[in-house]
């Protein structure tokens, strides 16, 4: 079964992921004496130890990885997963986000319209609401016509406290470059993106990305106009190697910790369904046939696995915790994260992965590439590009 594209979770496939969890639960759960067990019982346990609010321990990954590998919060994790499978709505204590075109804005309200133009929604703004369009500004300064991501206050679905207007991000390998723009490939499953680097931001970007040359990596955040992104700030530092020189790490030694810390980033996928929740994981089982690996001619097991991350499948449950906000949520793996892998080290001595400094310096290396909605739900600030994260493999 080949599926490991990024994005890979189509609504049709979400049913497959739920079925995998159910089958896994069936294998690991003992049957109650006296007869077969209903699927609901199996699915109730599927969250297992990956419940919301898990802690960053330094323990060992449970090799068993059974669906109910113990621990408080299992029911919560299962409930979260069920929610993802169905309504695609974050739990009440997490942020929700809506994306649409700004139709009207005032200091107290913002009205956005959704694709198709038939539906619109009005949100009240909190007194301390802020906005971003290339830089911080008052919400009233957002223009009608801007494409906005609006963050809603937890448990108050009609109230917004943050607006990002026209925000875009490009992260990938430079294909072509000239004096003012670069064309970037974000992977073979995505369209090429054009990045324009304005004069006012050029020096800031070139400090972190000195080699704007074909073959080198770039990761910038800016304002989006159609398919073109005007880069305004670097999202990380440039690795010193070309992307085609990336190679697998040497054989790692030592036990794999149960909770892995690093940097979680978001991706701006134009082709991704609106509001999709999930995480692209840099170490999807190479034997599963990731489209990126196949295109690169990488053999099974030869894909650069990004640090020592344990192999998972599309559909696996991953507890992602924002260490800056303390918010955590069990998300399904929706695809491989080819760009995150490239940004992770090929050589720990020369570039040991990028580091996120959202609240404090994180451990180096990207461990999760979240969808925009998931990133916002966990309290991430889109213009910062990352947050310090702890991931725990869901049971």
């Amino acid at each position: 079964m080949c599926c490991e594209r990024c994005p890979g979770a189509t609504p049709e496939r979400i049913g497959d992921f739920a079925r995998r969890r159910m089958l896994k639960a069936a294998v690991f759960q003992p049957s109650p004496a006296g007869g077969p067990r209903d699927a609901g019982g199996a699915q109730r346990d599927a969250g297992g130890a990956a419940g919301t609010g898990g802690t960053a321990g330094g323990g060992r990954v449970r090799a068993g990885a059974g669906p109910a590998a113990g621990g408080a919060g299992g029911a919560r994790g299962a409930a979260d997963l069920a929610e993802q499978d169905g309504r695609q709505t974050p739990p009440a204590h997490l942020y929700r986000s809506v994306t649409g075109q700004v139709l009207d804005v005032s200091p107290h309200f913002v009205t956005i319209g959704f694709p198709g133009g038939e539906r619109q929604q009005r949100f009240a703004l909190t007194a301390d609401a802020t906005a971003w369009r290339g830089g911080p500004l008052e919400p009233a300064a957002v223009w009608p016509g801007d494409e906005a991501v609006i963050r809603l206050v937890p448990s108050r679905p009609g109230v917004a406290d943050r607006i990002w207007a026209n925000i875009g991000r490009v992260s990938g390998t430079i294909l072509r470059a000239d004096a003012e723009s670069v064309v970037v490939s974000e992977g073979i499953t995505k369209r090429e993106r054009t990045v324009v680097i304005p004069r006012r931001a050029a020096s800031r970007i070139q400090v972190r990305f000195p080699r704007l040359l074909p073959g080198y990596l770039i990761d910038v955040i800016g304002t989006r106009r159609g398919d073109v992104v005007e880069a305004l700030a670097p999202a990380t530092s440039q690795p010193p190697y070309r992307s085609d020189q990336a190679r697998p790490q040497g054989r790692p030694g030592g036990l794999i910790p149960e909770a892995i810390t690093g940097s979680a980033v978001w991706h701006d996928a134009l082709d991704e369904p609106y509001g999709m929740l999930g995480v692209c994981y840099p170490a999807v089982d190479p034997a599963a046939g990731c489209a990126e690996d196949q295109a690169a001619g990488t053999g099974p097991g030869q894909a650069p696995a990004a640090r020592a991350l344990p192999y998972l499948a599309v559909g696996s449950a991953l507890l992602v915790r924002n260490d800056c906000t303390g918010l955590a949520w069990t998300l399904p793996v929706t695809g491989c994260a080819p760009t995150a892998r490239l940004f992770n080290d090929r050589c720990t001595a020369c570039h040991p992965g990028d580091r996120c400094g959202a609240c404090q310096a994180s451990v180096r290396g990207r461990v999760a590439d979240l969808t925009l909605a998931s990133f916002v739900a966990l309290g991430g600030e889109l213009e910062r590009g990352c947050f310090n994260a702890t991931i725990t493999i869901g049971r």
């Binding site: 995998r20 089958l23 294998v27 077969p36 449970r62 090799a63 113990g70 030694g253 344990p310």
Partner: protein
């Protein structure tokens, strides 16, 4: 020779107890919490697991030191008797608990040596625990240990001790994790094993042989991997209903654990495996039925084994492989 064999049991059992306690405390220190469920403690309600872990650690520590302190002429008599009896009973209880854990939670390790004991419980783990119980119970009436007076006696003692240590090392799945932790071996979570290799391993396993008759197509309809397990799903039938046969294969090269279940395609309900043709009784230890009603106890052991095999169902587990 028998006296020498008895003499080596006490230091060996004490070392196992103190090693187990130290590794558990090391894991607790790393996590800064007793919350981690270690092996049989998963049988307890969540609120009691911390207490259970503490009790197990305390028992191991006190029995370990108690065995050493009562091994000589000091504290002989009732103290030595009680310590050794307690140790033996603890290992008997531990063996029973491991059998139960293997039945209800086949994915978890025994937790005997903390984070090194994550490999699912197999017959080797049970055999080690049972041997330790026998070793501990065999020391109950042991006279005080005295140092050998001749070089030959010392060499025989050391040889016996080394041989027994080798036996326990051979029965310990923790050795693999130890090699991983020192960087000599690759952790199974990172091991690149192709689905074809996994399929070949599965097809050599006892689980596959037992359920081969129910598999409609030898090509899996879905294969995926999570951490140390690869899951293979095959089309199957159960009566007049479409079903899915699910196998979970632990990704290790030698004698991997293979678990299986039969699931209704439409409802997702776990179904009992249809009764398989009985094998000749007495050839192997009977497969333990899991979660199914126990058959009435027949008069003859062979009949009982045949009956159990026929009833082995939904969640059979055990080492497979060649």
């Amino acid at each position: 020779m028998l006296a020498a064999l008895g003499d080596v049991q006490i230091p060996l059992v004490a070392a196992m107890l103190l090693g187990g306690c130290a590794s558990k405390l090391f894991q607790v220190a790393r996590r800064r919490s007793f919350d981690a469920a270690l092996g049989p403690t998963v049988l307890f309600p969540i609120r009691l697991r911390r207490l259970a872990t503490r009790v197990v650690c305390a028992c191991e520590l006190s029995f370990g030191f108690g065995l050493i302190l009562t091994s000589g002429r000091l504290l002989q008599g009732w103290p030595a008797f009680l310590i050794r009896l307690g140790t033996g009973l603890m290992f008997v209880v531990a063996t029973c608990a491991l059998i139960e854990v293997r039945s209800v939670r086949p994915d978890v390790g025994c937790g005997c040596f903390g984070e090194f004991s994550v490999t699912p419980i197999t017959g080797r783990t049970l055999a080690r625990s049972a041997l330790l119980a026998v070793a501990a119970l065999a020391t109950i009436r042991l006279p005080p240990i005295e140092l050998p007076r001749t070089a030959g006696g010392a060499a025989a003692l050391l040889g016996l001790f080394a041989a027994e240590v080798l036996v326990f090392v051979g029965l310990s799945p923790e050795m693999r994790e130890l090699l991983v932790s020192i960087g000599y071996s690759q952790p199974c979570e990172l091991r690149a094993i192709s689905p074809e290799q996994t399929l070949a391993v599965l097809q050599r396993s006892a689980q596959w042989r037992r359920h081969r008759g129910q598999i409609a197509d030898n090509r899996p309809v879905d294969v995926w991997r999570e951490l140390c397990w690869r899951y293979l799903v095959f089309a199957s039938r159960s009566g007049d209903r479409d079903a899915l046969a699910v196998f979970a294969v632990y990704l290790q090269h030698r004698r991997p654990v293979v678990l299986s279940a039969l699931v209704d395609s439409a409802t997702g309900a776990v179904l009992p495996w249809p009764a398989a043709a009985p094998r000749r009784a007495g050839a192997w230890w009977p497969a333990r039925p899991r979660g199914l009603p126990q058959p009435a106890l027949p008069a003859r052991r062979g009949t009982a084994m045949r009956a159990r095999r026929a009833g082995a169902g939904a969640n059979g587990a055990g080492p497979g492989g060649p």
